[in-house]
Symmetry: D2
Subunit: 400 residues, 4 copies
């Protein structure tokens, strides 16, 4: 199979997840790291026509005025999450990549995110339509300069304040004209989605922000024969919930309460510290339990910023359940994972699978990718084992 | 569907699991408890022709000279694991049931178990063949007296010392003559298995003891058109291992080490305190990881008797794994479950499913029941979610 | 030593702590329980002239229309925290004691607590002075009927909304006239304090409510030659904080963050579920760390109502600290304690020690009792080991 | 006060603890690190005449043929426990220090330790007396070359197999002649102790090996007007035991069982993996509980080698205790500390305090240092808070 040239365009390209994704991809290109953590490198996916490391080029948007190298050093020295020797060897490549990252948009990104943006971007006045067109220019030039067959846009920027998707019209034809006005209620994540879909490129929303999770943007995707999926990458506590909850259900245990407390201290944590942004997240982490159990146990989820934790997200979950004869029992787990290291390989996996899907002519929502998401769009399946089987079934069908 | 009269014959009928099973069945008959913890009562199994509570009669073998009521009070007051009001209401029924429990056999049951037996049984001299015939007499009379169509024998007695199954001949024809000699190496659990299978009744080995896990006894089962399955009920830590390990595999995490420490203090714990008996158990708890991962992480499993814990088994598991870029991360869980309360509903489930299987004409090993076992015989499948799907597929096939 | 007849008057006399205190005292009188958990029964306090079980009589105030026996059964069957056999044996005594419990006051007790009160009490109109006089009547009659030398009043009622103590005048002479008006800002807990102190009886505030923690009421205590102490009983997570934090300090570890999450589901939890009441509590649980360390690590404390937990309070604490060369390390603990069982013996201990103090002529704040409190009044000592030594030093001085 | 020139002579000078101690001292000399973790740098010890960083010189004995720099890199890259930037800056100093480390002795060091030694040392034949004299030569030359007023010898080598100290005579006069024979039962740790004490230098045994814990060597110390102390540095789980157990005692809780499981994977873990060596350690970790409680709860301590853990020692402790009315409750803690980083600052503290003690004329066992040891010699005090007060009382007395 001839290598398809593929771009991965990261929204939030200088954040912790992006920096780790970029360090990882550079390391994979140079053979400096193993493929641990990459789902797309599992044995069962080996014969697929996935983009190879050397055929992948990276670019993106961000709103902060920082360098990838500085961000990588933070992961090494502040969070102690990446081996410093790796970053040393990739120093020049990281510095060169800064040129591929352009100014994004702050349209309805919320107060907290806007505070982190550099001053010039804060001052920029443009309508959503102007913003989308400016952003599309960056990608088009990137695709041309790098001779790319496809560019997968992945949103890994900070969580935006919650927006009610029900307020928007159902078709792209009705929604499109709203972009002309600065009063347009679409958040930045949706503008990035429009940017991708209008160009016919796949869009993956790895965050709980709105993105393309409205009918009008699904309509746009289908019209332009491209695909999209979301939302909210399933990296830690929720991954465990979607793995453990089916076991409790299959054993007919009655879960009385499920409490989950999360602490971490990276940029994402600081943005979530704003109650507006946190609300978007907590809803996403919690709703799968009722769907799996068929009833609603008492639940509690907190996510708190604790500076000293850096990228290390620690979750304590306390599951109180009744066994036979109503006897109460307890399972507790403690998850200590480096958030960006958990997310980055999934970003790469999603980009590869979405690239493959588009080349296979798949359009609209890609529910076979639901195992990667806390709240997969277009499906009610929340059992991780079954979601994973959906992915395997799809890739099996491609091999035939 | 007309109710099939079914006996459940418990080996170790006065132990904690048996006492809880009996309390539970009596409570279900009288509508005093919900069906929490019973897999066979899940929605997806509702239309099956399973034995109804009032069609089930209980009997069994034991080696100790105690009463069911005293054992039940231990679960209430020493272990604080069963609601005392329930036992109060079942007092008379429990006392009546003592009459259904007969002396078992101590043949090769090991030093530790023999110590717990009452003096008369310790003094009994008989060949294995004599023992089997004596034991069969109890069941035959039980079946007749209660007009039973079927009797499922479930071994929930204490773990025997390890026996190498490879030393026995492959066919029943070759093995059978060995029973005539007191030197016969078969342990008690296998004699109980022979007792059941010679009568054409199903045999379920809920313990890690040898039981019917040798070719010659599978041969006997098939010859007599009956079925059997084992071994070692999957109730706590191993249930979690078989649920969580596939997630680590599917995310391509590299598990470096998996440490599990278990403490509890019931009779089972006291028997396992003997290194001979403990060895049988630890092997059974550990081997599934290599099968699921396809490689062997460093593992450590301990099971220790701590008197104060009573029936409450607490497991602490520490899972050390590499994520992307080789970054080490940790998941820990703490499981606090009442051992007998976890096992008892599965005993009932297995008896019901095995009874159904025999009535459906299934013979030999029943691998569709593998989700109930730590080390399911006749299958290499150790992923709990997939094992559960095997059960669903079988019951679906019966509905058609 | 001749037995001094002592009353223990409980505010919140039908709550979980009070019910447990009463069950415990009755059991101690009848020799039905050991003295586990009672500090005053430690070897080093054996020669003190403490009130003996048979010289203690119990009475109290409450606002709910329930019976002690029903509350005791809740501890047995809902929370599974007290052995049911004990309550069976004390049935009649518990029922008899209902007669010793009288209606308290709802003056400024807050919306949440008022909701739990019975209708007649909710409708009662009286000025604070009238309320105090009515309440005093109950105790005076109780002391007379039981020929008591002393009555220790212990507040174990639910936490009130936060009140700023700085708004009140510094002397009793100035404060007393405010009681004449219904607009008086003193909360119920302070009125109970006034009730006790005006009668010359000791007052112990086991809750974080205001109680007698203002200069004017200390003035009243001294004027009436009696004593008082508070506040907020140190039963679980904070007990551990005040034990562990000094170790971190003495080893020169730098604690970066200390996160504590608490869940429980008893009546106290339901009252704390109101943000107004919770605020009072969280402050009390958190401030000792800065005092022990001499700097302020980032802290987070939550207390949440989870119904299924009943009286079982589970706390998870995550302590993130720097060791040598700045290396970050982690200690976590999980505390699973029955809240009322932890508090009740301390209520008895405090009553006995306060009774002794008053008989010894001690007046004002009794700082030698600081080891029993989260936020001990009148002292800056928060190190549990040192607080305990203060108690030992005081009792040693009495022996001489 | 004029700086006293002090040597710290490490036994096991290339192990993880020694390497960390050396990296730390070099960093302190250059002002590259803070004093976090150093007890001797606490406010209350500021006015003491302790050796200053620039007056301290390091030397030692080891049995392996490795370099300090390689060992330091292991702490950085394998264990991820030391910041790599620090080691980079100290590269040359570490390499230079290799010259200060000489061959130790393997006399009765046990099979496991001997396996790790370099071949030439394994082949060396000498009597204990010859060994001691050879070792003394190294120190004498070191002291002379560096113009040292004092040299504190600290044993931080791997744990030896258990030796019964009762077999040795009570006086130095009787013991000394035994050194002439190769059959002498004294282990290497005792020979190092003799080496120090014969030279009049203090000896600190930071390991559970025998060292100077016999009367004859205390006799030697006093005769030579020098001091010694041991044994087994209290760094993690036992530190917590000695902090928490007094709280359980002071609250009159009845501890029924205390289970502690430890996992780690450094060189120390590999040596402890030999049952002979492990026995020495487990005894040391466990015996303080009975002393603090005055009764013996059921205890269990395991220490296991798990390679992937490297220097990170994780302990899970499960404490099962009865509260009031006999209600069973549970406290669990999880300690995740880098073993060498926990030990190293205490090595420096002990060297500084022992140096001060010798200069103050203190001889024999230094029980005021008991807070640093799991099993402090010469005292029955195991309560960490009280042990720490003993240190404060001693240093207070010096200030007067």
């Amino acid at each position: 199979m001839a290598g398809s040239r593929t771009g991965i365009w990261l929204i939030g390209a200088k954040g912790g997840v992006a920096t780790t994704t970029i360090v990882g991809l550079l390391a994979l290109k140079k053979g400096l790291t193993e493929t641990v953590g990459l789902v797309s490198e599992l044995k069962q996916f080996q014969d697929l026509d996935l983009a190879q490391w050397n055929d992948i080029v990276i670019g993106g948007h961000d709103i902060r005025d920082v360098t990838l190298l500085d961000e990588a050093y933070k992961m090494v020295f502040e969070s102690r999450a990446i081996d410093g020797r790796l970053v040393e060897k990739l120093k020049d490549d990281l510095t060169a990549l800064d040129a591929n990252i352009h100014d994004g948009t702050l349209h309805n990104a919320g107060k907290k995110i806007t505070e982190f943006a550099h001053a010039k971007l804060q001052a920029l006045k443009e309508t959503p339509r102007e913003a989308v067109d400016r952003l599309k220019g960056h990608i088009t030039q990137f695709a041309k300069a790098n001779k790319l067959d496809n560019v997968v846009v992945v949103n890994i920027s900070s969580t935006e304040p919650s927006v009610d998707g029900a307020q928007f019209p159902k078709t792209w034809k009705e929604l499109e004209p709203q972009l002309a006005s600065s009063d347009c209620k679409l958040p930045a994540s949706s503008l990035y989605g429009i940017m991708a879909l209008e160009l016919g490129y796949p869009f993956i929303n790895f965050t709980p922000s709105l993105g393309t999770a409205i009918d009008a943007l699904d309509d746009l995707a289908k019209t332009n024969s491209t695909c999209h999926m979301g939302h909210d990458g399933k990296t830690g506590e929720t991954l465990l919930k979607s793995t453990l909850a089916p076991m409790f259900a299959n054993r007919n245990f009655k879960v009385m309460s499920w409490v989950g407390h999360n602490i971490f201290g990276n940029m994402d944590a600081k943005v979530l510290d704003d109650p507006e942004n946190k609300k978007t997240k907590a809803v996403s982490k919690d709703r799968l339990l009722s769907k799996i159990f068929g009833y609603t146990p008492q639940t509690l989820v907190t996510i708190e910023n604790i500076d000293s934790m850096g990228d290390w997200k620690t979750a304590w979950d306390h599951i109180h359940f009744q066994g036979f004869l109503g006897t109460p029992m307890v399972m507790q787990f403690i998850w200590q994972g480096a958030d960006s290291l958990l997310a980055a390989p999934l970003v790469i996996d999603l980009a590869r699978f979405a690239d493959l899907a588009r080349r296979q002519g798949c359009t609209g929502l890609q529910t076979q990718l639901s195992c990667f998401f806390k709240s997969p769009l277009g499906t009610e399946e929340n059992d991780f084992a079954k979601q994973f089987q959906m992915l395997e079934a799809w890739t099996d069908s491609l091999k035939k």
